[in-house]
């Protein structure tokens, strides 16, 4: 199973998922014109590799998930939540989510808190300067 590596653009985030290294990072801006089409790159890869992901989940102690987003629009927020739902279904309580936010960006912090609450998964919140 190869890692999923989607490079960032001006309006779409970097998504790097390396199950062998037990890490997923989503970083940058998320405001794609075709939000469904963009995030389908993740969901399609996830569905294709589901059996191997389940094996990976069974063997690993945890999956590090880092969100380093600058901004995401409302449609992206739905897709980001769905990513976490997918991962949660495979990795269950093994998800270790780190939610990065810029100092002063209370809305981004709150967004992370709302995702955490919706999924009942504790997040670690990391303030960056």
């Amino acid at each position: 199973m190869n890692a999923l590596n989607i490079e960032a653009t001006e309006y779409t985030p970097r998504i790097f998922f390396d199950p062998a290294a037990h890490s997923l990072e989503i970083a940058g801006f998320s405001r794609p014109e075709d939000v469904k089409g963009f995030y389908q790159k993740f969901f399609g890869w996830h569905d294709t590799n589901l059996t191997e992901l389940k094996n990976n989940a069974a063997e690993c102690s945890h999956l590090d998930v880092s969100f380093k987003l600058v901004y995401f629009n409302s449609a992206s927020s739905k897709c980001l939540l769905d990513i976490l739902v997918c991962l949660s279904a495979v990795y269950h309580k093994k998800l270790k989510v780190k939610w990065h936010y810029e100092e002063g960006d209370e809305d981004l912090l709150e967004a992370g808190e709302e995702f955490s609450e919706a999924l009942d998964i504790p997040f670690e919140y990391i303030e960056t300067v």
Binding site: N73, S74, K78
Partner: protein, 170 residues
């Protein structure tokens, strides 16, 4: 009171490149000039507003589509107008009146419910934009609907975001 026009656009239609250009202009005007939290609020409201226009506005051939962002010493204002077919008006009014009727806590609950239950539509929306706008602005969404002819109406939207620090200059 000092007023400054930050972004101005008028046309009969809008494409996504124009959405990108307008938001880039706005970001350049605001970034590093006001607190990042306020910059993000304004950017977020502007994004949801423009994306709604991009997805839902109709074109009757007139230059009735406009988007303006301006500021004074206390607020940043976002005003927009676009043409809509009559069939779209009732649902839009219902959705705006709904979010306007809710307080911040109720809006948060509504957002949580919708983000967990809604799917992305064929137009690429998640039905969350108006909720996000209502959560970030000062007061309520102000809107007007005026019939243009038998087929179309002009929808006008207005919202403002408070500038917490009055020490920043544009």
């Amino acid at each position: 009171m000092t007023k400054e026009l930050l972004v101005q656009f008028r046309s009969n239609q809008i494409d996504y490149q124009t959405v990108n250009d307008l938001l880039s202009q706005l970001w350049i005007h605001l970034n590093n000039k006001i607190p990042i939290g306020i910059t993000k609020k304004v950017y977020s409201v502007a994004t949801e507003c423009l994306e709604n226009i991009f997805k839902y506005a109709d074109n009757d051939g007139t230059e009735s589509l406009s988007f303006n962002v301006w500021s004074d010493d206390q607020y940043i204002y976002i005003d927009a107008e676009n043409i809509l077919k009559h069939v779209k008006i009732a649902k839009l009014e219902y959705n705006i009146d709904l979010v306007n009727s809710l307080d911040k806590i109720e809006l948060k609950k509504l957002f949580k419910h919708k983000i967990q239950t809604r799917k992305i539509s064929e137009l690429g929306g998640a039905g969350l934009g108006l909720i996000i706008i209502a959560r970030k602005i000062e007061g309520k969404i102000s809107y007007k609907i005026k019939d243009v002819n038998a087929h179309y109406a002009l929808f006008s939207f207005s919202a403002k975001i408070s500038i917490l620090s009055t020490e920043e200059n544009f």
